[in-house]
Each structure stands twice: as C-alpha cells, then as structure tokens.
C-alpha cells in the first residue's frame, strides 16, 4: 500500500513538472510584440536574446524527458539511471532559469553603468509574458528538486525502510 501511494506521488509530481516545463516553453515562444519607438519600429521576440533561446531549449528537453519517464515501468532497472538523469536535468533547469532571469533583469531595469536602457517600457506585454514563462520555469525547478529527493528515496533507500 505504501509503495502504491509512493509511485502515485512520483507520477503526479512528474506530470506536474511536465506541464510546468511545457507551459514555460509555450509562453516564451508565443511572446512577440511589435511597438513603435519614434520612427523606429521595434519587434521584440524571445530569440533576440541568447539566454531566452537557451531557456526554451532546456525546458523543451525537460518536457520530453519527463514525458518519457512517465511511462517507465515500475520494476525496470533503468530507475537507477533515472536518479543521475534527474540530477542533470535539475542542473539544466536551474542554469537556464538563472541565465534568463539575469538577462530579463537587465531588460527590465537596464544597467546605468554600462549605458543599457531598459526595454520593458516599450514592450510591456512581451515583458509580462516572459515573466510568466520564468515563473513556470521556477515551478518546474521546484518540482524537480522534490522529484530528485523522491527518486533517491525510491531507488537507494538510505534509511533501510524496505525489508528484503
């Protein structure tokens, strides 16, 4: 009975992380806004900034990985491999989120010392959608940290709770 609820909890967490990562990818891809700045027309898309491209790629990889692991059978030997892959995926998620937040912060506040002006004043809807995508990425990261601890508990059993 305990094993069933454990497995169900793992599945629910992974499905929620899949949804969050997918939401982040979709929110960032569909963010595109055109605005006029005096006589210059400015089109803001996510692919202008390398950090956002990396964010989309990383979250896409996480989405595909979560979807594949959802269908892993319970007694498969690959679960030990899943622990290592979960660690690497968490690293990927946190690095992409951190890079995107760092660059988005410059876009929102600018950098007075380097002479970089903020761009959120001209494209507010673009900025809002990017913020939403980053929040979804944060949710996916938190869920994956829980999943990492969960899969270690499932595979390695450090407290010897299972009598064999």
């Amino acid at each position: 009975m305990v094993k069933l609820t454990q497995r169900l909890g793992g599945l629910v967490l992974r499905f929620a992380a899949f949804c969050a990562a997918l939401g982040a990818v979709i929110a960032m891809i569909t963010s595109r806004e055109r605005s006029s700045f005096f006589v210059i027309s400015l089109v803001a898309k996510y692919s202008d900034l390398a950090a956002f491209k990396y964010f989309v790629i990383a979250n896409a990889i996480v989405t595909v990985y979560s979807f594949l692991v959802l269908f892993l059978p319970k007694e498969s030997l690959l679960w030990k491999f899943v622990v290592v892959l979960d660690l690497m995926v968490t690293m990927l998620l946190t690095s992409s989120l951190s890079a995107a937040v760092a660059v988005a912060q410059v876009g929102k506040r600018g950098n007075a010392n380097a002479g970089w002006l903020p761009i959120c004043g001209q494209v507010p809807r673009f900025c809002d959608q990017i913020t939403g995508a980053l929040i979804a990425g944060l949710v996916a990261l938190v869920l994956y940290v829980f999943l990492l601890i969960f899969s270690i508990h499932h595979v390695v059993d450090p407290f010897l709770l299972r009598k064999s």
């Binding site: 202008d48 390398a50 690293m91 951190s98 890079a99 380097a114 270690i152 390695v156 059993d157 010897l160």
Partner: protein, 195 residues
C-alpha cells in the same frame, strides 16, 4: 554489485573523492576571488569644446551587474561547503557516516551543484551580452573598451565551469555512496548493504 561495494569501502576511492573536493574548492575559490577583485578604470574622450577634448573616467566593477554579485557569493558558498566536507573527511575519522549523516552530505552536495551551475550560467550569459552587445535591444558591447575586465571575467568563468563539472562528479559519488552505507577513510569497514 559486490565488487562495487568492495571498491567503495577501500581507501582509494576516498582519496580520489578527497582530491576531487580539493580541486573543486580551489576552482570555486579562485573564481570568486578573481571576479571579486575585477575592476578596471578607463578614461575616454567624450566630446570636444572648441579644440580641447573633454575626458571622462569610467569604472567597470563586478558589482555593477547583479549576476556577477550572485556569481561571487555563490562561488564563495560552494567553496566553503567543499572546505567543510574536506575537514569532515580528514578530521572526522572516528565519526560513523551512516544513516542521516550520509543523506545530509548527499543532499547538501546536490544543492550546491544546482547553486554553482545557476551562478556560472547566469554570469556566462551576462558576459555574452557584454561581449557581443545586443542590437535588437540597442545595448552596446563593453568588451572593446574594458578588455582587461573582460579577460579577468572570462578566467573566473572558466574556473567556475570547471567547478561545476567537478561538483557534478562529487555529487554523483556521494549519491552512489548512499547505496553502500559505509564509512569513508576509517580502518574498520561496516558491512555494506547491497540493494
């Protein structure tokens, strides 16, 4: 699996782990120090009044950019964590690394892996914006004027990425040690449990 358990209880893998932790400690500490002391002052001609040029002095420091501040702080934290683990391994010879202690070492290693990877990547992408600029957002690049600042920053970034790879290996080793429940670097090895 039994061979793996035997290898984990020997002293050689403990020495390799200690060597890896020393390398990671030195890499992250040097990254933090190099970025923390990164500062360059340059004087530029910004205009002319008649025939005399007007000069202005600009400074590039690491704390102008929040990503670099996060980089320095995170590298300092990770190097402190590694120092703590090294001290624990050298001076905690009689302590039993079983149960909760082993789990907390593994969890701390995982948290520090995520922390250092986040810091290194944030600083890398900010440095890329500073090096190449961004013509869509009309942000000028700064590396053509502050070349030494950019070079030092690049060196700190390389050290931090070396620290990321080392921390990943260390964390994987700590997680695999959870499966063996053994003491590291002690004379008597407890019977290992093979899952």
């Amino acid at each position: 699996m039994a061979k793996l358990a035997l290898a984990a209880t020997s002293g050689k893998s403990c020495k390799i782990l200690l060597g890896l932790r020393l390398l990671a400690f030195s890499a992250t500490l040097s990254a933090a120090i190099v970025m923390g002391l990164n500062k360059e002052t340059e004087t530029f001609v910004v205009g002319k009044v008649g025939n005399t040029p007007i000069k202005a002095t600009f400074t590039a420091k690491f704390d102008h950019t929040p990503a670099f501040v996060f980089f320095v702080v995170a590298n300092a934290m990770v190097s402190f964590h590694n120092l703590l683990m090294i001290a624990l391994q050298i001076f905690g010879g009689k302590m039993e690394f079983t149960g909760f202690r082993l789990l907390s070492v593994a969890i701390l290693d995982m948290l520090n892996v995520t922390l250092i990877s986040a810091a290194a990547n944030a600083a890398a992408f900010m440095a890329e914006v500073g090096k190449n600029g961004n013509k869509h957002a009309r942000w000028d690049k700064i590396c053509d004027r502050f070349a030494t600042y950019c070079d030092h920053g690049a060196g700190a970034l390389i050290a931090a990425f070396a620290g990321v790879i080392l921390m990943l290996i260390i964390s994987a080793a700590s997680i695999s040690r959870l499966a063996q429940q053994n003491k590291c670097c002690s004379t008597t090895a407890s019977p290992s449990v093979v899952p």
